[in-house]
Each structure stands twice: as C-alpha cells, then as structure tokens.
C-alpha cells in the first residue's frame, strides 16, 4: 500500500533522512520509534508530501507521490494525518472542523456530512461536543476530534505523529483507545510514538529509526524482546 524507496531528505545542508526503504501493507499497523531528532516526523511528513522529498520515491497504491504530474491533493484525500499539537481549526465548532473537508473537497452535502460527523463523534466518544469550540475541550478531547476530522475524508491510511505526546498523562489512554479501535477495524496506520505499550500491543511491526535511517525493524516481540542493534538496545534501555 505504501512503498518507500531510497528516501533522502535534507533541510539545506542538514541531512535528516539518509536512505529509507520500507513497505507498508494494507491493514498493517507500523509503529516508528527512535530518539528525538532522528527524523521520525520528517519521515512521516514525506509520506503525504508535507515535506518535499529531496531524493527517492514514495508510492501510495502504486502512484508515485513525489511525481510532478501527481495531484497531491488527490493522494492526501486518502491519507489522514494526526498531529502532535492537534491543529484543530479554532474558529470552527467541532462539527464544522469535521465537516469542512468532506463538504469542500468531497463535495458532500451538508446533511450527509453532518450524519458522518455525528457517526465519527460517536466513535470517538464525543457526540455531545458537536457544538463546542476547540478552546472548550481538553487536550484528549481535541485529539479525538482531530482523529474524527481526519477520518471524515474516509482515508485508506492514517498517519499519527506522536498523537499523545502533548497530552497530560490521564488523557493518553482515551486517545490510545480510539487508535486501538481503529487498528482493530483494519485501518492501515503508521504511528510515530513514544508509547512503547501501544507499539508492543498494537504494532504489527516496529521500526527503530536513528540518525535518518531505519536501524532495526521487526515484530514488537523481536524488537522489544531481543533487539539486535546496539543502538536499539541502548534506546530501549532508556525508555522502558
């Protein structure tokens, strides 16, 4: 479903990604772990081209994302993204946050879009917050709305960039529970996370990134149980 070949990314002289190859299959949940500054966010943001790619290719459903002839907006409709800092639209109600993209981009009718929004709010447990504004919500609630907003485009893939890192500890669970539910429903997910518990429980595969490359990958049992790479061992000993 996602295929990444020889992905390089530089910011000016700073080389952040130094050759990443990786394939993500349909319905797979891939967790990306690694130390701060190793390029995890950059990797994720290259997949939907929020960062332009210096070298290499990303294919989604066989379409080369970074081809000049590819309409990136078409690709992005199929790839939802959830940010560390939620990035809800503060000038819109929760309902409008969720319906704006389906209405404007998928040309969905008002009634249909609202129905969909209520369904999704039900799913993330926030049906009663439809008319609230982002500033009236807690962090955990905002992140759940952000997930609903991304799901409203009916994406095939969901990208999560440290979705719980900006949350108070007591709110982490409510967000992870929504993500677990999503994983169980068969969503293809790429999750950058510091929640090793989530990676262990829900990940089909874990990628350990360091210094712009994938140092080690495998099932959670392999990576957490018997890490082969020294850097992985070192990292895990610090976070576990």
């Amino acid at each position: 479903m996602i295929k990444i070949q020889g992905l390089h990314k530089s910011f000016g002289d700073l080389q952040v990604l130094k050759g990443i190859d990786c394939e993500i299959k349909e319905k797979e949940v891939v967790c990306v772990i690694g130390p701060s500054g190793s390029g995890k966010s950059t990797f994720l943001r290259c997949i939907n081209l929020l960062e332009d790619i210096t070298e290499g290719s990303v294919f989604i459903d066989g379409v080369r994302v970074n081809d000049p002839h590819t309409d990136i907006n078409e690709i992005r409709k199929e790839v939802g993204m959830v940010f560390q800092r939620f990035n809800l639209f503060p000038h819109m109600s929760v309902l409008d946050n969720i319906t704006i993209a389906p209405k404007k981009i998928r040309k969905m009718h008002e009634v249909e879009a609202k129905d969909l929004a209520y369904q999704l709010l039900e799913k993330v447990g926030l049906r009663d917050k439809a008319d609230a504004y982002p500033e009236q919500l807690s962090g955990g609630q905002m992140q759940r709305v952000a997930i609903a907003r991304a799901l409203a485009m009916r994406p095939k893939i969901m990208l999560f960039d440290e979705p719980t890192s900006a949350l108070d500890p007591e709110m982490v669970k409510e967000v992870l529970d929504v993500m677990k539910q999503l994983a169980k429903e068969g969503m293809t997910m790429v999750v950058v996370t510091h929640e090793m518990g989530f990676a262990r429980e829900m990940g089909d595969r874990v990628l350990f990134m360091d210094e712009g490359i994938i140092m080690e990958e495998g099932t959670p049992t392999e990576v957490f149980g018997q890490p082969k790479n020294e850097r992985t061992q070192d990292f895990l000993s610090k976070v576990l």
Partner: protein
C-alpha cells in the same frame, strides 16, 4: 487677549456651511473608496508578498516598497499631473485622481498588515488543512484568512484613521474636501483661526466616532472564537468556562 476672543467670528463659518458639508462628504467618500479599494488590492499584494513564485513576489514587493517609501503628497501630484494626463490625454478631475492615489497608497500599507496577519497564523493550521486534501487556495479561504482577519482588525483600524486624516492632502490638487473648505473661508476673509479650528474640530469628531466603532469591532472579535462568548458593546462581561 480679550480683544482676540471678542474678535472671533464664527458667523462666517456658518455662511459657508455648504462648503463644509460638501467637504465632509468628499472627505468621507475619499476615505471609504480609498480604504475599500486599498483592502481589496492590499489583499492581493499581501498574498503576493507571501508567494514563493518570484514573478509574483518581486512586483508585489516593489509596489509596496514604492508606495510606502515615497510621500503620499508626491504620489498625489505624480498621479494627478503626470500619470493620468499621460494615459487618458486629460485630467479626470481632482476627485478621481485623489481616490486613485489613496487606493494605491492605502493598498501598500494594508498589504503589509495582511501579510503579517497571515504569517502570524500557526504553521500547523495550513498543514492540517493541506493534509485533508484542501488545495492551497481553499485552505487560505476557509482556514487561514478567517483566523488572520481577527488579528488584522486593530492595525486595519489604525489604517482607517490614518487614511481619514491623510485624505486631507488631496486639497493640494484642489479636490473640494474638508480642508479645502477651510482654505476657501480663510482666503475669502483672510482669517485663519476660525476656519482651521472648525475643520480641526470636525476631523477630531470624525476620528473620535470611528475610533469608538473600531474599538467595538475589536472587542466583538477578540477574546474568544466561541460565538456566545463574544461580547456585544453593552453586554456584561461573560463568565469564564
């Protein structure tokens, strides 16, 4: 001193009242036209200054630098006496020249305000919109501009007041604005206190009224995005969440 006060004759203002009423009307018209035109043109220029495309960015920058870097008085004379006669073969009258100059000048200042307002919106807002598949233009229209607009209200309000006062410069090309009325009276009677004090008071009144209106709009759109918590001018402060 006593002689001076006793010598003041406001009756001559009264006999020229049509001039002052007409002047007020012209000043207000020029301000409204200059401002509306300036906002619309300024929006495009402001976006132009944010463009990564060189042939959009540089002309926008050049425009803004020129109109902010030269005196409005010079721009007025240049447009009225040089540009318009060259293009149209004859003058289109001082009002038209004045309006054009004010639009062009105001647009440059508004462009900077609009650019700064757009840039002040957190990068994540654009990214979230784009990640949903919104094209750049749609994201601007639905996500960025509505938020940026609130932050632009105070500086755009200042710009309105500044334009109201600066519009008096059109007097030099003989547009019959408020200041011009004062000059006519001054010329007719060779007296200066009465006419200039009168127009000063009229300008002060105008700026006072508009300052109040702007303060109201600012209040209405500040604090909160939650409609029920936006404050009307007479409503009590809302209770926190």
């Amino acid at each position: 001193m006593i002689d001076f006060i006793e010598g003041i004759r406001f009756d001559m203002i009264w006999s020229y009242k049509e001039y002052f009423i007409r002047g007020l009307w012209i000043t207000l018209s020029l301000t409204i036209i200059g401002y509306l035109g300036g906002v619309i043109l300024g929006l495009f220029l402001g976006m132009g200054k944010l463009s990564k495309v060189k042939w959009i960015y540089y002309p926008s920058k050049l425009y803004v630098d020129f109109f902010r870097g030269t005196p409005l008085l010079v721009q007025l004379l240049l447009i009225h006496l040089a540009v318009i006669p060259t293009i149209f073969g004859s003058s289109l009258g001082p009002f038209t020249s004045g309006a054009i100059a004010l639009v062009l000048n105001c647009a440059a200042y508004n462009a900077e305000i609009i650019r700064a307002g757009i840039q002040s919106i957190e990068k994540g807002q654009m990214e979230a919109a784009r990640s949903l598949g919104m094209p750049h233009k749609e994201a601007m229209r639905h996500i960025i501009l509505p938020q940026a607009f609130r932050r632009m209200i105070p500086p755009l309000g200042n710009e309105w007041i500044a334009l109201l006062k600066d519009s008096s410069l059109v007097t030099v090309i003989s547009a019959t604005d408020l200041l011009f009325a004062g000059k006519v009276v001054a010329g007719a009677y060779s007296r200066f206190w009465e006419p200039y004090i009168t127009i000063a008071i009229l300008y002060l009144l105008l700026t006072w009224v508009f300052t109040r209106i702007i303060a109201y709009v600012e209040k209405r759109y500040s604090n909160s995005y939650i409609p029920s918590q936006r404050r009307g001018i007479f409503s009590r402060p809302s209770v926190g969440r």
